[in-house]
């Protein structure tokens, strides 16, 4: 039976944080799941969060389906981004993101999926679904989250990293 175990978590403190890093990720699980609840201090309703593996910013590709208050569409890109609520979203609201990375410790390229949504009591909201690939054979040992504009994650933003074992 599969098990789902918390590896580590972090909550941003009162001073904010420009980057969140999960380092020294053990290779003992089958898959990884990262669940985040994020808000940045960017002066808009929404911010994008860059997702970096092993400090690498290259060899990423993705296909994304997304919708907002007015339209739905798809695109492709090279750097996968998550969603974050930002400074003009309803106060005390946070986005939700889940990243699933199967076989993260293997020697094949790493696929991943992302499910993101913002929260806002207004006309603008956004939801993304992403299928991504990191064309790198290294085992994943660190994950870094950085606001694309921000510049900071605000207090009470959280990130929880779980390990999935298949036996």
């Amino acid at each position: 039976m599969a098990t789902y175990q918390l590896i580590s978590s972090v909550t941003v403190g009162s001073g904010g944080a420009a980057t969140i890093v999960f380092s020294s990720i053990p290779s003992t699980y089958t898959d990884l799941v990262l669940k985040t609840s994020l808000r940045t201090d960017r002066a808009l309703e929404i911010d994008a969060i860059l997702f970096t593996l092993n400090s690498s910013t290259s060899n990423f590709t993705f296909r994304r389906l997304f919708g907002d208050g007015s339209s739905a569409t798809s695109d492709t890109g090279t750097r996968t981004v998550l969603l974050a609520d930002a400074a003009t979203s309803t106060s005390s609201t946070f986005s939700n993101n889940e990243i699933y990375i199967p076989n993260y410790a293997g020697s094949n390229y790493k696929s991943y999926s992302v499910d993101s949504v913002t929260e806002n009591n207004g006309t603008y909201g956004r939801a993304d679904l992403i299928a991504g690939l990191w064309s790198d054979t290294s085992a994943i040992t660190s994950i870094t989250l950085t606001p694309n504009i921000g510049p900071n994650f605000v207090q009470y933003s959280t990130a929880y990293l779980y390990g999935i074992s298949n036996a």
Binding site: S8, S9, A17, A18, T19, I20, F22, S24, T146, N152
Partner: protein
Amino acid sequence: MPTKLIVDCSTGVTTEVELSQDEIAEREAMAAEYAAQKAQEEADKAAKAEAKAELLDRLGITEEEAQLLLG
């Protein structure tokens, strides 16, 4: 000074450290690149909408009528 939170998954310990000047410069470059990319996307979108409006105008039909023709 901006900081980063590093969660060491082998120990469970979280440390907060200041970003280096290189990391700050990298972040600023990333933000500039993203802003430029977004500006280009908006410009492309606006140009496409303008071209579409011009074509409809030349044809003398509305967008709904064009949809009917294509349907």
